[in-house]
């Protein structure tokens, strides 16, 4: 009976608190991924809205992993082949190395470009060679790159860096260090770029995602934990009643033990151990069953399973403490003389 009860508590624990913990963790990981920490601000038609100085100032904020400004993309073609198939070239304000991994060649200086590794075929080049042209402007290709998260949308074009005379960016991408900082970062960025009329801007903010996580935390995860707490409380109560009933049935047995030399402590330990061992077996089976039922779905970690088992066993020990106290408190003579 104790084994079944302890096992049931464990199964329900895995299926409620365990799965919600996994779900919470997955949501947290999703929110913590770079793509979910990006503040994307675009100016509506105003060129040079975000100056180089503003980008540098934003980069200096503690909660900012990186910030880059981008000018409007220019459509470039290969200078060698004179191909009509073009690729976009973005002028980057900020550190271009935050947006990409260099595959070959070197990082560009102003007036030079690196092209996406996957764009080489379009341009008809095998490596960092040649140049990009557009309306007479030429950009020597000095390297190839692979875009990194969350800048993969630039992974099929070319990048160059702005020089000090550049007019300024039309788009600002700010990567917060943590999604929970998104709201604060957004406020700071808005202050730095001194926007009086937000209608001039299109803002895609991750702050709402942070709010979503808070809702998830206070919502269904909390509900699942409360549900498990109720299951645990009821389970422990039933275990206590079952052990107490067992004690009452064993009155004569316990009285005999006392008469033969068992101390009160030995009797208490006996009651607790009589409960602990079947509970241990139940908890192990319950853990295994709970995890087995979750195969292909949300699967709590081994650490969670062990912690849950330990919590259940602790509760079982607490549950058996009251009957143990009853066992040592009862008059052994009366117990012995109970038919």
């Amino acid at each position: 009976m104790i084994m079944v009860l302890a096992g049931t508590i464990c199964v329900l624990g895995v299926m409620t608190a365990g799965r919600s913990a996994v779900a919470q963790d997955e949501i947290r990981q999703t929110l913590d991924s770079a793509g979910s920490r990006v503040l994307d601000i675009r100016s509506k038609g105003v060129q040079g809205f975000f100056p180089q100085a503003a980008v540098s100032q934003i980069n200096a904020l503690n909660a900012v992993a990186t910030a880059v400004g981008l000018a409007t993309a220019r459509d470039m073609v290969s200078g060698h082949r004179g191909s009509d198939r073009g690729i976009p070239l973005w002028v980057v304000y900020g550190n271009v190395a935050d947006m990409a991994e260099l595959v070959s060649g070197r990082w560009p200086r102003p007036g030079e470009a690196i092209v996406a590794d996957q764009s080489k075929r379009i341009l008809g080049i095998a490596g960092p060679a040649g140049f990009l042209v557009e309306n007479g402007a030429e950009f020597p290709i000095v390297g190839t790159f692979r875009a990194v998260e969350p800048f993969t949308e630039f992974g099929a074009g070319a990048l160059t860096v702005a020089d000090s005379d550049s007019a300024g960016a039309v788009r600002l991408l700010v990567l917060a260090t943590d999604h929970s900082q998104s709201g604060w970062v957004e406020d700071q960025v808005m202050q730095i770029i001194s926007v009086s009329d937000r209608s001039q801007l299109e803002v895609i903010s991750p702050a709402s995602l942070a709010e979503l996580q808070a809702q998830v935390n206070t919502g269904f995860v909390a509900y699942a934990r409360q549900l498990f707490a109720i299951v645990l409380f009821i389970g422990v109560g039933i275990i206590a009643v079952v052990v107490l009933a067992d004690i009452l049935l064993l009155r004569s047995d316990l009285g005999r033990r006392r008469a033969l030399g068992a101390t009160r402590g030995a009797v208490a330990a006996l009651v607790v151990l009589r409960t602990f061992f079947p509970a241990f077996a139940g908890v192990v089976l319950g853990d295994a069953l709970g995890l087995g039922l979750g195969i292909g779905q949300l699967w709590p970690s081994a650490e969670f399973a062990v912690a849950l088992a330990a919590l259940c066993l602790l509760c079982v020990i607490v549950a058996s403490a009251i009957p143990a106290f009853v066992a040592v408190s009862q008059d052994p003579v009366k117990a012995l003389r109970t038919p």
Binding site: D253, R256, A259, L260, G261, A262, T263, A266, V333
Partner: protein
């Protein structure tokens, strides 16, 4: 040999019940079988359990070898019970879930005797008392007389100096009663203090001393 005495014992079960003893004193002779007799409800078993340190008297003392022990700690009393006292109950009170040999060696668990030596000693006592063929049986598979003899084996396991028997022949036929009393007599002859609570006139006629309540 151990001298067991009680002095000026007063005892009652709660305030509403009357006093069972009012200043009861007695020195139990080692090597003798002493009967505690009296009609039902006079406190025969109660006195036995007070002497066995299972109950604490309201007033007065129980002394083992001159040392007052009735008021000492639970651990101290438990140690005396496991070391110096062997209990025999009216119905054998064996553990129904375990084998007879396990019931016999149960007191060794509380004294901390190694299981192997306890089993060896238990088997020896069972041999001398005539229940060695039943050691691997469960209590449910042996007769009442055998169960009581097993209970005597258990009482003798730790070689106690005091044997307290509560109506040990109460549930037995005449033949088995004689066997059981014979074992108790043998223990007394070996120098142990044997005290038997009984209202059996036949048993009372066989003892050396009687305390009437």
């Amino acid at each position: 040999m151990l001298t067991l005495r009680c002095e000026e014992l007063w005892f009652s079960y709660g305030r509403s019940s009357g006093e069972l003893f009012r200043g009861l004193s007695h020195v139990f002779t080692p090597g003798a079988v002493t009967a505690i007799s009296g009609s039902s409800g006079r406190g025969k078993s109660t006195l036995l359990y007070i002497l066995g340190l299972m109950l604490t008297p309201k007033k007065g003392v129980v002394a083992y070898n001159g040392n007052p022990v009735s008021g000492i700690s639970d651990v101290g009393r438990a140690l005396i019970r496991s070391k110096s006292v062997g209990f025999v109950f009216q119905d054998a009170v064996l553990d129904p879930t375990r084998k007879v040999i396990d019931s016999i060696i149960e007191p060794s668990v509380y004294l901390g005797t190694p299981r192997k030596s306890a089993i060896a000693r238990g088997k020896g006592i069972a041999e001398s008392i005539g229940v060695s063929a039943r050691l691997d049986h469960r209590p449910g598979a042996i007769s009442g007389g055998e169960a009581q003899r097993v209970a005597l084996c258990r009482a003798l396991l730790n070689d106690p100096q005091v044997i307290l028997a509560d109506e040990p022949t109460g549930n037995l036929d005449a033949g088995n009663s004689e066997i059981v009393f014979g074992i108790l007599r043998k223990a007394a002859n070996a120098g142990k203090t044997v005290i038997v609570a009984t209202h059996d006139p036949y048993l009372s006629s066989l003892v050396d001393e009687t305390v009437t309540l």
